[in-house]
Assembly symmetry: C2
Homo-oligomer: 192 residues x 2
């Protein structure tokens, strides 16, 4: 009997290295797919439309939101982010696992919907390291970095709502931990 796919919801304060980790995770395991979010924010350098995000206009986003096409959506820094439902449910029904990388706000919304998922929190090794990373990324102004750090502190308080926590100290070991969580969840007796 083929099992249903598993939805893995991964959150992290911005600057925790979530995107790199999730990409490496999906590349390293079979039958694991990345959910692609829609956003109205402009692409950052290197981001590819349809792969990293689906970049759409605000008007288009609001139209889809009205049609209830999103599993969850959020407004962050005056831009919209949303997770299209259809693609995920299609994969899950085919027995494929899906990694959905969303912020804490979004994850808490899916929890309220009683979405059956495994919740993983990626943690920066410390607040000071998080600050360093945000500065070295140099995509944000000083003010935006301060805002992000404030949000990060608040997000950490939601840790207990997650099933697992992975500290992103050394990339290789954080990746091994993430991989292990996916593999272990596939071995759960309840899934068979």
């Amino acid at each position: 009997m083929k099992r249903k796919g598993i939805l893995f919801i991964i959150s992290a304060p911005s600057g925790s290295g979530k995107t790199t980790l999730c990409n490496k995770l999906v590349d390293s395991l079979k039958d694991l797919n990345r959910s692609i979010s829609m956003t109205t924010r402009p692409p950052r350098s290197g981001e590819r439309d349809g792969i990293d995000y689906i970049f759409i206009e605000k008007e288009e986003f609001l139209k889809r939101k009205k049609k209830n096409e999103f599993l969850e959506w959020a407004r962050v820094f005056d831009e919209y982010y949303g997770t299209p439902k259809k693609y995920i449910t299609h994969l899950i029904s085919k027995g494929q696992d899906v990694v959905l990388s969303i912020d804490v706000q979004g994850a808490m919304k899916t929890r309220k919907l009683k979405t059956r998922a495994v919740y993983i929190f990626i943690m920066p090794p410390s607040m000071s390291q998080l600050k360093e990373r945000l500065i070295s990324r140099s995509t944000d102004t000083k003010k935006a970095i301060a805002k992000r750090l404030g949000i990060a502190k608040k997000e950490l308080s939601y840790l207990s709502k997650y099933d697992y926590v992975v500290v992103n100290d050394v990339l290789a070991s954080a990746l091994e931990n993430l991989r292990s969580i996916v593999i272990a969840e596939r071995c759960r007796t309840g899934r068979r």
Copy 2:
């Protein structure tokens, strides 16, 4: 804050390759220790006293049993097997994880005691492969093999009482699954 150690209870029908897997598992991860059982059965070829088992006389076993020194004990094929409590609780309190490899009968006893543990079932790929393995091991008579297969069938019906199941088809992938379960359990938010 240092977390408490985790107790992993691993069961498998005899002939599923449990011993090899557990040894490799413990060798491959830090802070993971094997609980050593006491038994009254004679050592099989290659088994070392104090490492694979602690081999003791029946009289000594029954004395310890009376003093309630075993977490669980069982009588299998007219021999006694028991898990000494002290060593495990000592390691757990120091934040060390422990792998306890016991049969289904023993695992169900620890469950009844509400022992906090992660329960893992190792499954042979099929009953016919299990039979082949028991024959090739050539430590048992035909009659003993038939008896073991009957027990194995009954044991499989307890699968749902376990948290995880690992099919021991290819050794390397079964080992990766086991390792992943240990690593993932260490990442659980409840453990911190």
